[in-house]
Amino acid sequence: MVKYCELFWSFFKIGTFTLGGGYAMIPLMEQELVDRHGWLSQADFLDQVALSQSMPGVLAVNMATGVGYRLKGLRGSVVAVVANVMMPIIFIITLAMLYRYFRSNPHVEHFFMGVRPAAVALIAAPVFKLAKSAGIGWKTLWVPVASALLIWLLGVNPIFVILAAIALGLLAGLLNRKGNEA
């Protein structure tokens, strides 16, 4: 029987000690949930990872919700999510309050002058890896390029671009079916 406090402690550790975002949490989660506690089988865990990646939202929070729900129902999912994001939120609020005081310090400003282009590079770097895993080839290259240009140059809200993608995907599914029937 899984106890709430064990569930809380597991996701608390996962949220508090992983640097580098949601994808860095996956190996730690596997170690904690599958190897250490045996709460989920390897297959159930991988199934939950695939589901978490395909649903909207942040990967780590989706994982916590799904695993918590599988183990202890609705309350379990709330416990796991709160445990997962609690310390990161406390860290960020503390830093946000401190940043206001240290912002005028020249050393802090120099540190941030170095770090800003790095932060942008870390956003740009996954683009190529994601393009590969999305199976983008020469024929489909126009889709990400057109989306980027619409947002960057024409100022279209990315939410509309995503809505258009959902509509196009449904249309493609419909055309595929007709093609198969003919």
Partner: protein, 191 residues
């Protein structure tokens, strides 16, 4: 009323985030710097840097920090800003959490459905463009230096290229960020 707008904005961001933290960061950026003008691009880049250096999911960290700064910039005190940060992180996870519970309960059998598959294939391709656009929007004179003021611009370009290549080779992002900060301290502090 900033709190209601903050809640509604982050509710939208949560439900339209396909593709994890990087996609969420791109949507937050567009809403808060382009659409609502709650933050300048430079403030947002700083928040992004801090979110990448602290533990936790980057999407949640960025939402928390953005909520805080947006309320502060609207002229409220720091405790109202704390409320804003909690509100933003709550709003951004609310709908995804509800959907995930429904998915575990009912929807798993639809995962192999043709329409679901073809929608996700299209979403994966579009999200690549959404994230690329966010990166392009972040390249500003404030963060990278003006091309005419050479030292800052050239150093920024070199840091960008180095971090880009090293992160593709799976270097730990924390060390890359700390290294870049150290380079900034040495370069702009001594020169």
């Amino acid at each position: 009323m900033i709190f209601w707008e903050l809640f509604w904005t982050f509710l939208k961001i949560g439900i339209f985030t396909f593709g994890g933290g990087a996609a969420m960061v791109a949507l937050i950026q567009n809403e808060v710097t382009v659409h609502h003008h709650w933050l300048t691009t430079q403030e947002y880049t700083d928040i992004l840097a801090v979110s990448q250096m602290t533990p936790g999911p980057i999407g949640i960290n960025t939402a928390t920090y953005t909520g805080y700064t947006a309320v502060l910039n609207a002229g409220y005190g720091p405790w109202a800003a704390v409320a804003g940060s909690l509100l933003a992180s709550f709003a951004v996870i609310l709908l995804p959490v509800a959907l995930m519970i429904l998915a575990v309960r009912f929807l798993q059998r639809y995962r192999n459905n043709r329409y679901v598959g073809s929608v996700f294939q299209m979403l994966r391709m579009v999200v690549v463009g959404v994230i690329a656009a966010a990166a392009l929007q972040l390249v500003t004179a404030e963060s990278f230096g003006h091309p005419a003021l050479s030292l800052h611009f050239i150093a920024s370009l070199l840091i960008f290229l180095a971090v880009f290549v090293l992160s593709m080779r799976k270097c730990n992002p924390i060390w890359l960020m700390l290294g870049s900060g150290l380079a900034g301290l040495l370069l702009y502090g001594l020169v």
